[in-house]
Symmetry: C2
Subunit: 270 residues, 2 copies
């Protein structure tokens, strides 16, 4: 089965399914989204959409606004899954900056009760937000083990990635998916993942085919195909993996088997 392990929910759902069909993707793991760049036909429209994301990344929104936004976004994801249970799975957002008890309650109410199978995307825009992830990891440890998906491309710096690596070591039972392979820091990220069994490599936002190739050569069992749609195209990212994989077995693992095995091992898919 081909699984796109990271797409943001798009409107219309029909467009999302068409892109999956064109790429030969059987199932997609949906993530929440504040902006909807798929609606933009030109740069000016896209800028308006992206301003929403940049404010979130910069941590400019109030805690209350963020919570309301995340609740709405999770609802969008769970409704898309309900309408297309054979095609979609979902990860759910968790607000940063809540107390341990509030975070645990959020996970039970918004993730577990909705049968979502992971947590994220976290897009920590500053060091404080990276530190707040500790509370999320602790809550996951205390409630139920879920994979945690963290954006590690720009604007997350190498320093931020190193703090995240420390969390991966502190909570070594929690699977952590390093989103976008660390961006420009992909070599450090691959090396770290090789030494830490709970760390997975997301292959979206690839800017150098050689980085994707090296991840697949070095750690075939923990590479995960994703397109990050609507930012990336599911068809092109699948092609990338098929083109640079050292062999077909590796390509199949990255294109679906690895994520399926991970979710199975945690009892998160039926």
């Amino acid at each position: 089965m081909v699984i796109d392990s990271h797409e943001h929910i798009m409107f219309l759902t029909k467009t999302q399914l068409e892109k999956m069909d064109a790429a030969g993707v059987d199932r997609t793991i949906l993530f929440c989204s504040a902006p909807h760049p798929e609606k933009a036909g030109n740069l000016s429209e896209l800028e308006s959409e992206m301003d929403t994301l940049y404010r979130v990344l910069a941590g400019d929104n109030s805690k209350k606004d963020n919570i309301r936004r995340l609740e709405k976004n999770i609802l969008e994801v769970t409704e898309a899954i309900k309408d297309n249970p054979g095609r979609f799975l979902g990860f759910g957002s968790v607000p940063l900056g809540l107390s341990l008890e509030e975070t645990q309650e959020w996970i039970e109410t918004h993730i577990t009760a909705n049968s979502l199978c992971g947590i994220g995307e976290f897009t920590p825009g500053n060091e404080q937000q990276i530190m707040e992830l500790d509370t999320v990891f602790q809550s996951v440890q205390n409630t139920r083990l879920y994979p945690v998906w963290v954006h590690t491309f720009h604007p997350v710096t190498l320093d931020g990635i190193k703090r995240l690596m420390a969390l991966c070591e502190k909570y070594s039972e929690i699977p952590v998916i390093l989103g976008h392979l660390g961006g420009s820091n992909w070599m450090d990220v691959i090396k770290f993942a090789k030494g830490h069994e709970n760390v997975y490599l997301d292959l979206s936002a690839a800017f150098a085919s050689i980085a994707t190739k090296m991840a697949l050569v070095e750690l075939p069992e923990r590479c995960l195909y994703s397109s990050d749609a609507p930012y990336g195209e599911p068809y092109l990212y699948r092609q990338l993996i098929e083109f640079v994989s050292p062999n077909q077995t590796t390509a199949k693992m990255a294109l679906g088997e690895n994520i399926e095995k991970l979710l199975d091992s945690l009892g998160l898919v039926s």
Copy 2:
């Protein structure tokens, strides 16, 4: 004609030609290269190769070492062109930090005398190096107009890009190719290019298909296909342009017509 407007010279040349053939690329513009990542079979070998590049980017090498390296690298490019005149064109490196007279002499001796058709890649690692580009632009103005190719992805910052934009305005007759579309600053770069006719957008190192699409929608006449091989795959980058172009006319312009027209207009290809 399909032209990959930016590949680094690879060893063996046979491998480079095979990749071009597989991608349906008629001609490639070769650029010098210090490292040769195409030789690396795994991450450890790649790290050794890339250390060379990182030292260059960080400006760690002595002026004398850099000059000797660039002379050797230009010779490699001109020999590959001599052996395959129907398939290769070339851009030549120019050292930063020389005097105006030395730079002009370098351009005459190493670029013009070798029938190269452009200057670069410049990979300015710090602000001082961006400022030293002024001497290069002045020399180009004084000798013969060549397109100048500048890396604008990480580690070049938005501040560095803004200084480069100031040079594009100061030397408005010199075509400037903004390599890798500005990286994370792609929106700023596309907007700037729209207002400045001498600015071209290189589409390699694309980490978001949507950025490539927006460049093609907004400025079809100044988008240039390239793979940045061996970092990117010529086949995959061609596919990207064909997949996201709003129409076939735009794709054809980006895949070869635009760069051909630019070089023709400066009398740089026969």
